[in-house]
């Protein structure tokens, strides 16, 4: 379970302080598939970055399984990002020098797994994402949809507690977007917790719970 209490995030803009998140209280239970929506600039991506420990909030706190992340050392933050969280980015964020399989293997190798075993696990995940035949291709040789599926494989290969997705369909055509969302739904059905940011309400309906953020605050929280 991940929870936020009075979460705030501000950015310094010259002499002015711009408050992007204004005291968000939020709880995501294990196994939930939550879509975070809102207009551009509402603060939904910033919210996701705080929640996924990619950034530090200005005030308030985040609790993971009841433990405040304020108590985390830098190493623990890295530990969570490596072992407990998975990330899917809008622009896929694959490493261009690594093949699809190497991109997926990397988090496992960082955890100490042998290269051969990591490759087998990576191939398995790529097969699940239906891109196993591109395992030895560099990202530049894959389409956007294929890259995003490789990115999802990398995010879930370490069996994370929570999968964070930031606008995962923003750069994809309709068909690829639906493929990605179907994968998310399958993952959710198998018990994966997912927090997905999207600006398209139609795609948010794939989730079981939709949170709307506006002007740095949660303005609605509905179950589909």
């Amino acid at each position: 379970m991940i929870e936020t209490r009075k979460l705030e995030k501000s950015f310094q803009d010259g002499d002015r302080e711009a408050k992007v998140l204004k005291g968000i209280d939020f709880v995501a239970k294990d196994g939930e598939f939550i879509a975070v929506i809102g207009r551009s600039g509402a603060g939904k991506s910033t919210f996701l970055y705080q929640l996924s420990l990619l950034d530090e909030p200005t005030a308030g706190e985040i609790l993971i399984d009841g433990r405040s992340t304020k108590d985390f050392s830098q190493k623990e933050g890295i530990y969570f990002r490596l072992r407990e969280f998975g990330y899917v980015f809008q622009d896929y964020a694959l490493l261009p020098d690594l093949t699809a399989c190497e991109n997926v293997s990397l988090p496992l190798i960082m955890q100490g797994m042998g290269k051969k075993e990591a490759r087998e696990r990576a191939l398995h995940e790529l097969g699940r994402m239906n891109v196993g035949h591109h395992a030895d291709n560099l990202p530049a040789h894959l389409s956007g949809g294929e890259q995003q599926r490789v990115s999802i494989a990398r995010a879930i290969v370490n069996r994370p507690k929570i999968l964070f997705a930031d606008e995962p369909t923003a750069n994809l055509d309709r068909e690829s977007s639906e493929t990605v969302l179907n994968i998310f739904q399958e993952l959710h059905e198998s018990g994966q917790t997912i927090v997905m940011v999207t600006h398209e309400e139609e795609y948010a309906r794939y989730a079981e719970r939709i949170i709307t953020i506006d002007d740095g605050k949660i303005v609605s929280d509905t179950r589909v």
Binding site: L82, L98, I109, M110
Partner: protein, 419 residues
Amino acid sequence: MSFLRNIRVGFYLAVRQVRRANLWTNILIIFIMLLTFLNLVLVTGFLVGIVTGISDQYRNQQTGDIILRSLDTKNYIQNSPEVISFLHTLPQIKALTARYVTAGTLEANYLTRVGPNEKPNQTGATIEGINPEAENAFSHLARYVHEGRYLTVGDYDRVLLGPQFIHRYSFGDQPGLTPLDNVYPGTKIRLTINGHTREVTVVGILKVPANSSLAARAFMIASEVRQLLGRSDYSVNQIALLLRPGVDPTTFRNFLERSGLGSVAKIQTFEQAMPSGVADVRNTFGVIGNAIGSIGLTVASITIFIVIFINAVTRRKFIGILKGIGISGEAIEISYIFQAFFYAIIGSGIGLAVLYGFLVPYVSAHPISLPVSDAIIVAPVGGTMIRVFLLALAAVIAGYIPARMIVRKNTLDSILGRA
């Protein structure tokens, strides 16, 4: 454990980044490393090689491995025939030559001199009386004959001259040495030793660098010099020895001392006989070479720094992603250290192959002819490996600093490309 894991991941990333980097970028960086390595090794090696060339020349042409000279209190080596006979019985000696060495004067163009007020075309000279065959076996003196021919055993009233005495080959005026004009093989000149003047014919002229000990010497057959010196007891001034491979000169010198030769001759190894200035010049050139090499090393470090910095800056987003998915900053830094290390080692490896596979053997076989001496490249393996280590160390530091600068930036800022 975590450190080893960071090294493992760093290596994994570095191998793939280098392997999949632009080919021309890789070639350029490795080429810079190669040039830096050669600069580090060759500048010092060549400078030291010039001095080594001078000292080797002195050894090959003059002293051999061991030289026996007359004691400071004597004009010659006492009982020379017995000493030479004894030396001939020693199996450690490969070749020896005995020389009469004396000061004298050479005068040319005396027949065309107009009157007593005209300055004679005359020069001081070191005259050596030699056995032509023994001397040639020892120093290959005949190899240096440029005009005319070498001496033979029966060459009475014949002289072989160093280039310093000949105006057209002379390296410039030196105190007491006035080059002779119009002297060619066949020209008659006057030679004066010990107050005895004799008209002799020039049979040949040598060609050697200015620093050669042969440059300002005149050679005649030993029996004639002995006669001019009035030395009836056959006692010579120098006996130079070439030792067989594997015989240590210092040990052999000590053996000769113990054998009693120390009481009749001053016995010196090549190192002891070498003019002290040569060793100083060699050390000085070594220091200069190291100073120039250090500049090269600094330039290479800056180059690697720039290359890695540009690489890291352009890949900042991917460094952010790596951190985002849980790859530790240390592993990422180590990947850049490995990259710099790979480039340094590959560059040095090619450099070693070029150096020991081609340059050193080629230049040893074909020394570079310089006015002062024939230069070689002195690159002892130990010293070269220290330079490889220095280059690798400089590359690793120069790779680490920019990587650390970029890795330390905020993860999210890196991913989003924010300043």
